[in-house]
Assembly symmetry: C2
Homo-oligomer: 333 residues x 2
């Protein structure tokens, strides 16, 4: 490898309906429980990786800003996994761009590590299977495993590195479900997900959550397969609240909600009482993911535009898998 | 009993540091776990009970307004317990007044049923012991058991009616702890406590909470005995958050917090970061109980007056036991 070897990839973030929270084996990001998600059409990361023999160390830019310190170290560890498999030592330059704000409950690390892993493998001349890619992406960020396959995705808990990967349970076309993310705050969250996973396992309720998880998974998976919003919505809300109950009783406790988050949770119930069938879920951050079927999306957007507390919103459909793109290609969803 | 037999009583509400949530035996309000509380000097109910042979049914007025329906039925059931013990059938007129808004997380039912029980017993010619009074008050509202004794109070879980009563663990003078209740909403809560207790037992985390409760009780009780705010405050906050985690994962879920509640929880952490040693607890409602030692209370009040979201506040010290008063006597705390 004497000249730069470059590849670009695009990956979508995903929203989990059954959440991943807590690692059985932290270093390998092997989760305690199965999770279930949908890729998000309007939330994606495009990443270009160039292995360049002229570089003395890895470089990282995100949305045009150079990053050093922990962010670069985490990317370098991920590149090391790829270099190890490819048998190379070459340092790389990584340029990444997000279509959405980072660190606010939209899983930027999911799309970022999925795109990084795919681009790095291609640039290094590797051609891993989707399953291998998913395992590898998981090492950088657990939920990145779910951003490799397309559509609606399951990620199985397993005790072995090679067994904990994600795969499609239904293609994006299966159900025209919408996830309209109401962005109430662009503040970067105080406790990152990695620390949050660790703190959660010290919640007095963590063991009970894991014990109940297979039942929750089964109910939500079946409602998704049946496209039954009346069962899906309430079960997904309960799952999200349970995750936050674990986070806020963790050690240290993590209260990801802002006042605006809570105002929106109450608003969702008021909308339902008024006949608009919308449910919520939340990742580890203040923004609220509003779930509805396609035929109610226009009305929901109209309602959202009336709320001062919502800075902006991101309207998502189910999206496809991570894919290689031409460098500098427009990042179409 | 041919003419009205009348008595008046005053009882303080209380704030629990180890909460009561969930009944082992619902009708008897026998709790799952030991709880620990402080009587609140500024939050009290005064109640006059007149057994009057001229009445065909019980009458109830609260803060000058006549009540019928569920509120009156609950008071009548409590009066029945007293009538049964006294061997009388006479109907009563009950007039009650609160020094604080009802249904917003200050336990109005605690002070109300403590005052009602004491006044009704006296008017009926009974002279129960403090222990008997506490058991009897518990039948009307669980936390009312704790509003019978004075100061800092423990209420033991037990499987038998006569064994589940509250008693003083330290007099009011033991520690000049302040509970400044920031009232962010006078809205009546949607789910009353009785329904909330029932819903909580269906949380997937309920069993874990009960299993951990003795350890929490031990730690908080010891910190209270030692007047050690640095241990007391964090443990009390964790206990309160755990209660709300149970409530929000109950069936049906109960989200008692308003946006202003959450803004205050974040504010408390900001105050601590800035060097003001204040911790919070919350009952089943949106208002926030701010706990500090006497020497920090002035500064905390100054800070509170700057916050638009706080409608008003109630500054409490530890208060004495429920007591008989002269009808129409001023309700001094």
């Amino acid at each position: 490898m004497n000249r730069p070897a470059e590849a670009s990839a695009l990956a979508h973030s995903n929203i989990a309906f059954v959440k991943y929270w807590g690692n059985l084996v932290g270093d390998l990001r092997l989760p305690y429980n199965d999770s279930l998600s949908m890729n998000l059409s309007a939330a994606h990361t495009t990443t270009t990786v160039s292995f360049d023999p002229a570089l003395a160390s890895d470089h990282l830019s995100i949305d045009g800003n150079a990053h050093i310190g922990p962010a670069l170290a985490r990317v370098s560890r991920q590149l090391d996994l790829v270099r190890e498999r490819a048998g190379i030592q070459t340092r790389a330059s990584v340029a990444s761009a997000n279509s959405f704000p980072m660190g606010t409950g939209i899983a930027s690390s999911a799309s970022a590590f999925a795109a990084l892993t795919l681009a790095a493998c291609a640039a290094a001349g590797l051609s891993p299977s989707e399953r291998e890619l998913s395992c590898l992406a998981r090492r950088g960020s657990g939920s990145a495993a779910r951003s490799i396959p397309g559509g609606f995705v399951t990620w199985r808990a397993a005790a072995e590195d090679a067994e904990s990967y994600a795969e499609t349970v239904a293609p994006a076309e299966h159900w025209d479900l919408r996830d309209i993310v109401a962005i109430v705050s662009r503040q970067h969250k105080q406790l990152g997900s990695t620390g949050g996973h660790d703190a959660a396992t010290r919640s007095p309720f963590f063991a009970a959550r894991i014990a109940h998880s297979p039942d929750d998974y089964q109910a939500i998976h079946q409602a998704l397969m049946d496209r039954d919003m009346a069962r899906f919505g309430p079960a997904v809300e309960r799952e999200a609240i349970a995750l936050h109950a674990i986070a806020m009783t963790g050690d240290p406790p993590a209260l990801y909600w802002s006042p605006e988050t809570l105002a929106l949770l109450h608003q969702v119930r008021a909308w339902r009482d008024a006949g608009l069938p919308v449910w919520f879920t939340l990742d580890a951050g203040p923004n609220v993911h509003l779930l509805c079927e396609a035929r109610h999306a226009d009305q929901l957007e109209t309602e959202l535009r009336r709320l001062d507390m919502v800075e902006t919103y991101l309207h998502n459909r189910a999206a496809g898998p991570a894919r290689l793109i031409q460098p500098d290609a427009p990042a179409a969803s």
